[in-house]
Symmetry: C2
Subunit: 348 residues, 2 copies
């Protein structure tokens, strides 16, 4: 392969390119909870590069709740993940061969190369990453899609004013952790909701939220009421169900709700909003969103996020599983809330 | 009284001012459905006018669903109606005595004088009405608060574009009838939901909606699906519950929902939104509103509504009960959907 006429750059500078790599495909669709047997790991050949294509060695894979929706055949906001195809997923890595004029071997890039150790993409579909200020995996978290989801929902939907109170569910997660810190920087009182004392301690003591309610302690409504003495002006919802109900009950007039995720119902539970009257009585605004539909705002948002991380003003935590084969179990753990912060898989 | 030094204008031009009038007070709060005994009619003395006050003979009283909320002690968006006080209500009538420089005997005025044959208010709290282009009672309907609720929810929340499909519940009512006609004028396909074949015929044949689904026919979901072949881009919700669920199920991505009323649950039923996931999956925007909180837009909206009525482009229908004593039963009928169009009470 090192002498292939298709890969002159590789032949000169990266003779160590493997002939094969591993990937994980969707073997079957879950009925109820996701199970390890819904996935299958397999070895595939490294393909030859076409014009303008780039071969990337993925260093990290991002695991995100949205993948659960893609695993279902049911109509969602995006096409289903096809069976027997590589599981969708955001990745960061390094170029190991390039037939794209703008991409050189050794460049750090982000892309959507899936649950796989390597991947090929048109160079135009990859984003070059500057790792001098921000570490590579952070581009999958606080300065990536989760950070942008936080930034978009907060700045475009909740539009918080200093002095207002915000509630953030899944507060220790990749999105919630950024929401709360951005809101604190904007002068808000921020109350997180998370599962367990350890997560809540992290949310308060490391991330700097004003308070964090442990929904597993069994007093969600009362504890949230105690933590929001002035009511709630904004809700950033990642979970749904009981946490959303509890936050809605505390809303002030004209509160705004950014509906980013409903991870609480990924196994098919109905997620009713029991008291729809409160939406009218309190004149609430609620909007569901998908951050990848608002790419025009990414440059602005990523610039803010990158600068804050570089300055040490936006903290993050990564839960890192080791090796591609660990991805299915790590993903199942993510859906069960076992991770703290951004769930990654270290690949190479 | 005609010689009272407080009422010089009256003494000259309106010697027929009665000494007493009738009003209806809230006698008790409903537990469950509103009952006639929650009200009491009584006779009170016409008071002397203070500086800048005006005495008005009410010709029409408006009955509106919001009054049901005020009758409860439960915290709502407005203060509760106090027991033993005149029931709140919008009225139109004529000035019969005035100590306000801008108001003359004979002027037509609108105000919030309640369930009463007469009332006193500061002249500044009354709005002079031009009855040369629009008949007096229309200022309680299509060119009043219900019309403005329709105009606000449609233009400020749904913001429809030509070619889009809108669903309007309580389509034959005071608000819904205006929503649909305004949306038709903006080039939309408009589908109403109403109860009974007669109301649906009115909605289609008189008001000009493209279709109307009779929810009492028992096939709400299937009938609404058939009437919305291109999906739904906007929902103007006056009822809640099953009609909202059925409309949500038909939404296209980025549909907007104006939550104006939830009359389906006024007797205390929970009104769950069973499938909150659809708000996320379809990236819906939902906003509850109270039109009296947006008075800055009333001049603009009323101007459009008044011009359309005057030009015959905005049709309306009034259900008129005769005499103050008929108001409680007419109000109960309104809550049960017995009216067609705007429910009024003719007082004098």
């Amino acid at each position: 392969m090192s002498t292939s006429p298709d890969l002159p750059a590789v032949a000169r500078s990266a003779p160590e390119i493997p002939r094969h790599y591993q990937r994980i495909v969707l073997a079957s669709r879950p009925r109820g909870p996701v199970l390890p047997e819904n996935f299958r790991i397999e070895t595939v050949a490294v393909p030859a590069l076409g014009d303008s294509e780039v071969l990337v060695r993925n260093h990290y894979l991002s695991l995100d709740p949205y993948m659960r929706g893609r695993m279902s055949a049911a109509k969602s906001y995006a096409a289903s993940q096809e069976l027997e195809h590589t599981m969708i997923g955001n990745t960061v890595g390094q170029v190991v061969a390039s037939r794209h004029a703008g991409m050189a071997v050794g460049d750090y890039v982000g892309g959507l190369l899936g649950w796989a150790e390597m991947g090929v993409a048109d160079g135009a579909a990859l984003r070059k990453l500057d790792v001098t200020q921000v570490a590579l995996p952070v581009y999958l978290g606080a300065v990536g899609m989760p950070g942008m989801a936080a930034w978009y929902g907060l700045t475009q939907i909740i539009q918080p004013k200093a002095g207002e109170t915000l509630v953030v569910s899944a507060a220790s997660g990749a999105v919630g952790s950024v929401v709360g810190q951005l809101a604190k920087l904007r002068g808000c009182r921020v109350v997180g909701i998370a599962g367990g004392a350890a997560k809540c301690a992290h949310v308060r003591d490391v991330l700097g939220f004003d308070a964090c309610v442990d929904y597993k302690a069994g007093n969600l409504e009362a504890d949230l009421a105690a933590a929001t003495p002035d009511g709630v002006d904004g809700i950033f919802e990642n979970v749904g169900g009981a946490t959303l109900e509890a936050a809605l009950a505390r809303t002030n007039a004209f509160a705004r709700i950014a509906l980013c995720g409903l991870i609480g119902g990924f196994n098919g539970q109905e997620m009713p909003i029991k008291n729809s009257r409160i939406l009218l009585i309190r004149r609430l605004s609620l909007r569901g969103f998908i951050v990848t539909e608002h790419m025009e705002l990414w440059p602005q948002g990523l610039q803010e996020l990158q600068a804050l991380v570089a300055a040490g003003k936006l903290k993050y935590h990564h839960s890192v599983a080791q090796g591609l084969a660990s991805a299915p179990q790590a993903f199942i753990g993510l859906l069960q809330g076992q991770n703290l912060g951004k769930q990654l898989v270290k690949l190479n």
